[in-house]
């Protein structure tokens, strides 16, 4: 309880600090939204020009970017400081975190308020409302629950990928650059039904880099395309759970890497 109170207090103070620089604050909100422009363009083109994609109806396809975007925005808001952790590592801030009686990962997350998440979240919520309003699915409590689980699982899966890279950054600073590549990849391919891509690419984005588990698989299960993904149905359906398990694994890797941290600048 005390930990939650401290986290809340630090978050509020950080948010207030961001608010004091009005222009900077607005610019950060705007960049959060503009960063997702490719998704907005994709959604607009999809609805205006196509009736469907890869055997999916366009209203079903729209649920993929909406789910991914919402998971991403929540990741940025709650756990996103792990993306770009290399900078905090290079600046020696990890050393400072190790001096305080608080978990290092938590301090990393509390380093600043992610103002850009407000922009991300605004776009994501708008997209999800649009996708749900166009959806012809029967939104039973079970489906709603699974969609919420999918968003949370997507959040954790994205967090797991960036936490794994942050763990590598503790030892190899150049690993941080991979996080920018990863973000680009998630943004570019996260909005499509992956069955439209060549089999090898789809396979890589499923078993190499588990992008398919963020939104494609859960939405496929929701929309009745779960048997056509090329992966076992149970695996696709278990996506939310796999996201949580991947995150737990990534946190274990983080703790192991921190125990072997050898510092910077001698």
């Amino acid at each position: 309880m005390q930990s939650l109170r401290i986290m809340w207090r630090i978050t509020l103070l950080n948010f207030r600090a961001q608010l004091e620089y009005r222009t900077e604050f607005l610019l950060m909100v705007a960049i959060g939204a503009i960063w997702q422009v490719s998704v907005i363009v994709f959604a607009t083109v999809l609805l205006a020009r196509f009736t469907g994609m890869g055997g999916w109806d366009s209203s079903e396809v729209l649920l993929i970017p909406a789910t991914r975007m919402l998971a991403h925005a929540l990741f940025v808001l709650f756990l996103g400081r792990v993306h770009g952790a290399g900078r905090q590592i290079q600046e020696g801030r990890i050393d400072t975190y190790l001096l305080r009686p608080m978990p290092v990962h938590r301090q990393l997350q509390l380093a600043f308020f992610p103002t850009n998440a407000i922009g991300d979240l605004t776009v994501a919520v708008g997209l999800m409302i649009g996708a749900l309003s166009r959806s012809e699915l029967d939104w039973t409590p079970g489906r709603i629950g699974y969609l919420i689980a999918a968003v949370i699982g997507g959040l954790f899966l994205e967090a797991a990928l960036f936490t794994a890279l942050a763990s590598a950054s503790l030892r190899f600073p150049a690993a941080d650059y991979w996080s920018y590549w990863l973000e680009e990849l998630l943004g570019t391919f996260g909005s499509y039904p992956l069955n439209v891509l060549p089999r090898a690419v789809g396979g890589f984005l499923t078993y190499g880099l588990p992008l398919a588990f963020v939104a494609y698989f859960p939405v496929a299960v929701l929309t009745g395309h779960g048997h056509d993904t090329g992966a076992p149905y149970w695996l696709a359906a278990a996506s939310p759970l796999l996201g949580v398990l991947a995150y737990l694994g990534a946190r274990w890797l983080w703790r192991w890497s921190l125990r072997h941290y050898s510092g910077i600048n001698g």
Binding site: N14, A17, G92, D95, L98, R100, P101, Y261
Partner: protein, 331 residues
């Protein structure tokens, strides 16, 4: 009494890749990297008693910061062991963090975007310091470090001196018995340096804190340290008082006296040589490895001779340490 800081056989080895010269060398290093072990700290042993201020000295790259990082729980030693206030820092990092304060002169532990006072308030919550106790301690630190003149300023807008004073206060707000200071006054002007030294002296003498200090500022060492540990190439080469170091590396003092009687005979004193005599003017200097300190020599000269005037010349600590560094390099 148990030591506040116990260090026994502490070593830390880093493994790095050898950089070969030239473009071909760089390609070879990429294809077939040669890994070497760099021994940053090797088999260091020392203790620090409660309420003692120990200066850990040595040239750049000697292993001072690595030693401090192991004692603060940032790094895990390759071998050996250490205890700080009864806790093994690298095994119980969070418990150790409650017992120590640390200032790294080149880095801040404050929140960059927040006013200093809000950083203090967050630290109060993290360390679970009662509000009244926090307020009283903050007042005490304000009196000593003049914090209130800038504590509503964001950390990113502070001068170096203001920032380090804030960091010092932040490191001590939870009342830790042990404090680590890694070059705390680096880059400061003389006025702020003196203010910080006064603060540190107060923390040791009045609050009984144990302090381990690294610095390249010999004035600081002279003003603050009772004992010095000298390290070089990761090894401990000397552990002693300032007087012992002076005796070993810089016994270049001279006592100049004017005798009341120009014809009186100057009797030999143990460890003190008569270097020069011109009528009543005599000059004494150290004699042999067991020579007394300049202050002991002064006392001995006054006790054994009737003098009308007396003056001291002493190599300053900077010269002594330079000689010590050169000596340990040769060894």
């Amino acid at each position: 009494m148990d030591a506040s800081i116990e260090v026994h056989g502490l070593s830390r080895t880093f493994h790095t890749t050898v950089r070969r010269p030239g473009f071909t060398g760089a390609v070879r290093s990429l294809v077939n990297p040669e890994r070497v072990a760099k021994h940053a700290v090797t088999d260091i042993t020392f203790d620090v008693a409660p309420g003692e201020l120990l200066a850990l000295l040595g040239p750049n790259g000697a292993g001072k910061s690595t030693t401090i990082k192991m004692l603060t729980g940032i790094l895990t030693p390759t071998s050996g062991h250490a205890r700080v206030a009864g806790v093994v820092p690298y095994e119980e990092r969070e418990r150790n963090a409650r017992n120590i304060g640390a200032v790294f002169g080149q880095r801040t532990q404050l929140w960059w975007d927040l006013p200093v006072r809000e950083s203090f308030a967050i630290l109060r919550d993290i360390y679970e310091v009662p509000k009244a106790e926090h307020a009283a301690r903050l007042k005490e630190f304000d009196d000593l470090l003049d914090l209130s003149s800038f504590w509503d300023t964001r950390v990113r807008h502070l001068s170096l001196g203001q920032r380090v004073r804030s960091d010092l206060a932040a490191a001590l707000l939870h009342d830790p018995p042990v404090v680590f200071l890694d070059e705390p006054t680096i880059g400061m002007d003389v006025v702020v340096k003196e203010q910080v030294r006064e603060f540190l002296r107060h923390q040791v003498t009045e609050r009984g804190r144990t302090v381990l200090l690294t610095t390249h500022d010999m004035t600081e060492v002279e003003r603050l340290a009772e004992r010095v540990v000298l390290v070089n190439h990761g090894r401990l080469v000397l552990d002693g008082t300032l007087d012992e170091i002076r005796r070993k590396f810089g016994s270049t003092w001279q006592v100049r006296a004017t005798l009341a009687d120009a014809h009186t005979e100057v009797a030999p004193l143990p460890g003190i040589a008569l270097l020069q005599r011109t009528g009543p003017q005599v000059v004494f200097g150290p004699d042999g490895p067991d020579a007394p300190t300049v202050h002991q020599a002064l006392k001995a000269v006054i006790e054994h001779h009737e003098v009308t005037d007396i003056a001291l010349d002493e190599a300053d600590l900077e010269d002594v340490m330079r000689a010590a560094y050169v000596h340990v390099e040769e060894v």
